[in-house]
Symmetry: C2
Subunit: 497 residues, 2 copies
C-alpha cells in the first residue's frame, strides 16, 4: 500500500516555527531550573496562565509595533468571541490579577515561564513562537520592588556563570517625561502618537546612532532601502534636549542622577523620577550591587508604551562575531519596567506593577557562545543488540540490570541485522554496545564494544600505540560482570556527557 | 486617573481555559520529572515541536470525533495558508519524522511533554488546553517496541508510587480486524465509516454496557436525552460475534490468546494479531511483568481510526467518589497504540510506529487523590518586615543571609504598616517573619515570629499548656544569630512543605 505523491501533504513546520531536540532542550531545562531556583529563593511563586486569551483582555500592547493590533494570532470562538494567542506574559498577568484581585496577597509576586506567539515576519533567529521567563511584583508603587528585581536578575545571571559579562542598565520614564514636559509635550491622549514616536526614536540609538535619532525625532528618516519613517516632529531645540538626555553618561549612578536633575529641574515628574533612581541606587549600594553590575543609562527607554517608571535592560557585554563577520556585543537578554496603568484597564483604578522578562533562547544562545552549557549531544544509551530473538528474555534482563544501576540502556527494538544495529548504536551516540550471541551464551559471557574508543582508533590507525590499545575497544567478560565492566568502560571518558 | 467601567474589558479566561498556581504546578513538575527520568533511562530522547502546524500536516485525526475536521483551533496565515494548533503530539511527530527521515536513527525513540489544544465544548474537568506526555518508537514493526512501551509505562507508574493500583490493558486491532473479516467487512475505503462505527460502539462498553453496545453495533441508539446515534448496521449474528470478542476475559494472558484464536482462526490478519499478542506476552513474562500489571483485554479498542496493531490503555484501579457520590474506579490515565500508516501520509511508504500518551492532569489528579503528592500550598518565604525605610540596607542584608543559607526569603516590598505586613506574611504562608525596629537595632537584636506556631495557638487558646508554649511563638535573638534561630523555628515543623 502506498499513497500517490499528489495526495500527500508536505512535511514541514510553518514559517517561523521550529523543532528542537536532545542536547539543546536539556541545556535549556537546566538553565530554566537555575533561574527558577533564584526566583523561588526571592519569594516569587509559580503561575501558569493559558496560552489563549480573549483578544479584548490581551489588549493592544504588542511591543515595537508601529501598527498596533497586528502581530497577533487571533481567531473566533464558536460563540463569535475573538480569541488570541498570548504575545507576552504581562498582558495575561494583568488579566489574572484583575480577575483574582481580592484573593491575592499584595504585593503579589509571581514568575512564569512560557511560550509566546507573534504573528510577525520571521527572520534568522527570529521565531514566531518563543519562550519568555518573567517575574513581576504587582500591587506596590515602591521602587524597592524594582530594585529587588534587578538584584534577582543579577543573581540569576551570576548563578548561570555570566558574572563579569553582563550589565543591567536602568532608566526612568519619569525622567524622560520630565524632559518632554520641559519641551512642551504634556501627557495625554493628544500627544500619545508623538510620545510614541519619541520613544521609538530613542530606542533606535544603539542600532542607528545619534544622527538617525535626530532625524526620527524631527521630520523623519529615509533608510537605506528608501523606506521613509515619519518622525516625532520635534523642533530643533527640543531635539537637542532629548538627545542631551540620552547622552547623559557616567560610571557612578549618583553622578547620572545629578546630571539628570539638571535637565528636568523644572518638572515635578522629572524630579520624582530622579528621586526614584536615587532610592534604587541606595538600595543597590546597600546590598552590594555596584556600578559595574547595575548602571543608570538614560538611553534605555524600551519600546513599550505602557511603561510608567523605571525601565531596565540587561545586556551581555562579551563580544561575538555577527553574520557579517564583525565583532559585536552579544546584547540584550532581558528587559522590563514598571507599568502602573496596565491593570487599570480592567480594574478602573491604578494597580502599580513592575517586572522583568528574560528572552530564553537569547540567553541560552549566550550560554552556548560562552561555553557555559554543553552543546555536545547528550550521551546516548547503552544498546543491547538482539542477536537471537529467542534469547530476548536474557537481553531484557541486561537492560534492566543496567537501568537499575542508574545507566541509560535500551534493547534494540528494530528488526535489522548486526551491522545495522551497530550503525544504529553509533548514530545514537551510544558509548557501549552489548553483544550476546550463541557462543557467548554457551560460555556464560557477553561481549562489550567501546564505541567511543573504537571511533577514536578508527581516526588514527597509523599510531602503533593506538593499535595496541585497540584491543581494549572490545572485550568479553563473564555475564555476571556485565554492569561492572560497562561502568569501567564509561569511566574511561569517551562519550560521557 | 480612572477608566470608565463601560470601556473596560472583562477580566476572565476564555471558556475551557484556566490558570494554575504554586502547589499544583510544583507537584506536576515533580511528576513530569519522574516520568522523564524513566523514559530517559529507557533510551528515549527529548523532542519539542512547535505548538502550531500547517493544518494539512496535522490531518484529520482528532480522536473520538464523530465529526472529523472539527475540534481544532485553526486560522489563516498572512500567505493564506491554514495554520492549526496541535491537538495531540502524534500528528506533529509524524510530520517531524517525515521531514527528517534520512537523518534520524531508526528506530527513532522520542518523548515529548507539551500542551495540546482542542476546540471542543468544555465541561467539568474537561479543558480546551491540556498537557500530554508522549513516548513513541518510530521505524520498527517489531512488537518488542510495543512491549517495551508497556514496561516503561509500568515503571513510571511504579516510580510515582502507584504500584498495585494500576492495570495496563492491551488488545490488538488485528484481532478485531480478523473478526470483522470473518463477518464479511473487509478493509478498505468503502467500509471505513462502518468500521469506525464498530470501534466507537466497542469503545463505549465501559460507560454504557453491552446492551447499548449491541444497539450501536446494530441500527443505532437513542440516549436518555432523546439524541439518536446511528449504528454500525451489523446483522444480529455479526453483532453477537463482535460482542463475544469483547467479552473474552481471562486472568492469564496466554488464556486470552487461546480464546481469541478460536474467534479469528479463519482470518490471516486475526491469527497474526494473536501471534503478536503471544510475543508480547513472552517478552513481558521474561521481564517479570505479570498478569497483575499488564492484561490482555479485547474490550479495549481506543477510538482513534489510525491504530493498526496493538492498542493499550492504562487504568488506575483504586476507587474515588464521583460527582454523584458513587464509588467508581479512577479510570484511564494513559493510552496509545501502533499506527503503521500515519507517516505514510507524507512519505508514501509505510513507516511503522507505536506510542503511548499520558494524560498529565488526569495522572496528577490521581496522585493527589491517593495522597502521593502534597496538595498543601508550597511553603511561603520568610518575610523580613520593613519597620523603618532608612534601615533598608540592614533588611536587605538579612534576606541575603537567609538566601545564602538556602532559605526562601523576601523583603516586604509594599508600602503598608506593620499590621498589614503581618497579614501579608500570613497570606503568603510564611513560616517566620523577622522584625527589626528601632529598639531591636539599638540592642543589636532581631525579633522572630513563628507564624505557624502562632496560628496553632490562636486555634486553641483554652489549653494552658499551649499558652505556655505560646511564648515560643515570638523570640528576640542577637542579630548575629538570625539564620541559626530561623533554622531552629523551621525545624519545629509548622508550615514546612
Amino acid at each position: 500500500m502506498t499513497v500517490e505523491k499528489s495526495n500527500r501533504p508536505e512535511a514541514r513546520s510553518p514559517r517561523g516555527f521550529r523543532d528542537r531536540m536532545g542536547a539543546e532542550l536539556a541545556a535549556e531545562r537546566r538553565m530554566l531550573e537555575t533561574i527558577r531556583s533564584v526566583y523561588e529563593a526571592y519569594g516569587f511563586d509559580a503561575l501558569e496562565t493559558s496560552a489563549i486569551e480573549y483578544a479584548d483582555a490581551l489588549g493592544k500592547f504588542l511591543p515595537d509595533q508601529d501598527r498596533p493590533n497586528e502581530g497577533v494570532f487571533a481567531f473566533r470562538d464558536d460563540d463569535e468571541q475573538w480569541l488570541a494567542m498570548r504575545y507576552d506574559l504581562t498582558a495575561p498577568l494583568a488579566r489574572f490579577v484583575a480577575e483574582n484581585f481580592d484573593a491575592l496577597p499584595k504585593p503579589f509576586r509571581r514568575y512564569q515561564a512560557g511560550q509566546v506567539f507573534r504573528n510577525e515576519k520571521p527572520g534568522p533567529g527570529r521565531y514566531r513562537e518563543f519562550t519568555q521567563f518573567d517575574a513581576d511584583t504587582v500591587g506596590t508603587a515602591s521602587v524597592v520592588a524594582d530594585a529587588e528585581g534587578y538584584m534577582m536578575l543579577c543573581d540569576a545571571l551570576e548563578k548561570l556563570g555570566l558574572g563579569g559579562n553582563y550589565l543591567v542598565k536602568v532608566n526612568n520614564r519619569k525622567v524622560l517625561n520630565g524632559v518632554l514636559e520641559a519641551i512642551g509635550i504634556a501627557k495625554g491622549a493628544a500627544s500619545e502618537g508623538q510620545r510614541g514616536a519619541v520613544l521609538r526614536a530613542i530606542d533606535k540609538l544603539d542600532r542607528l546612532g545619534p544622527q538617525a535619532v535626530r532625524q526620527l525625532l524631527g521630520a523623519g528618516r529615509k533608510d537605506e532601502s528608501g523606506d521613509f519613517t515619519r518622525g516625532a516632529e520635534l523642533g530643533a531645540a527640543a531635539i537637542e534636549r532629548v538627545v542631551a538626555l540620552t547622552e547623559v553618561n557616567a560610571a557612578a549612578r549618583g553622578d547620572v542622577c545629578d546630571r539628570l536633575l539638571a535637565l528636568v529641574a523644572t518638572s515635578e515628574e522629572g524630579r520624582k523620577g530622579v528621586d526614584e533612581l536615587r532610592e534604587i541606587d541606595n538600595i543597590l549600594t546597600a546590598a552590594g550591587y555596584g556600578d559595574e553590575r547595575v548602571r543608570f543609562d538614560p538611553s534605555v527607554v524600551r519600546g513599550l508604551a505602557y511603561y510608567t517608571g523605571p525601565v531596565v535592560e540587561a545586556e551581555l557585554t562579551f563580544q561575538v562575531t555577527n553574520e557579517d563577520g564583525q565583532l559585536v556585543r552579544f546584547g540584550s537578554v532581558a528587559s522590563g519596567g514598571r507599568y502602573d496603568d496596565l491593570i487599570m484597564r480592567f480594574k478602573g483604578v491604578e494597580v502599580p506593577a513592575t517586572g522583568i522578562s528574560i528572552g530564553v533562547s537569547r540567553l541560552l544562545a549566550a550560554l552556548i557562545a560562552k561555553g557555559l552549557v554543553s552543546t555536545a549531544s547528550a550521551q546516548g544509551p547503552i544498546v543491547v543488540l538482539v542477536m537471537d530473538r529467542d534469547a530476548m528474555g536474557g537481553y531484557l534482563a541486561m537492560v534492566r540490570e543496567l537501568r537499575a544501576a542508574g545507566l541509560r540502556a535500551e534493547l534494540y527494538t528494530g528488526t535489522a541485522g548486526m551491522k545495522a544495529q551497530l550503525k544504529y548504536a553509533d548514530k545514537r551516540q551510544s558509548p557501549v554496545v552489548i553483544i550476546e550471541g550463541g557462543d557467548e551464551r554457551a560460555k556464560g559471557a557477553v561481549t562489550l564494544k567501546d564505541l567511543a574508543l573504537g571511533a577514536e582508533r578508527a581516526k588514527d590507525i597509523k599510531d602503533r600505540d593506538q593499535w595496541s590499545k585497540g584491543s581494549e575497544a572490545q572485550m568479553t567478560v563473564p555475564r555476571a560482570n556485565l554492569v561492572e565492566a560497562v561502568k569501567q568502560i564509561l569511566a574511561r571518558g569517551g562519550r560521557r556527557a
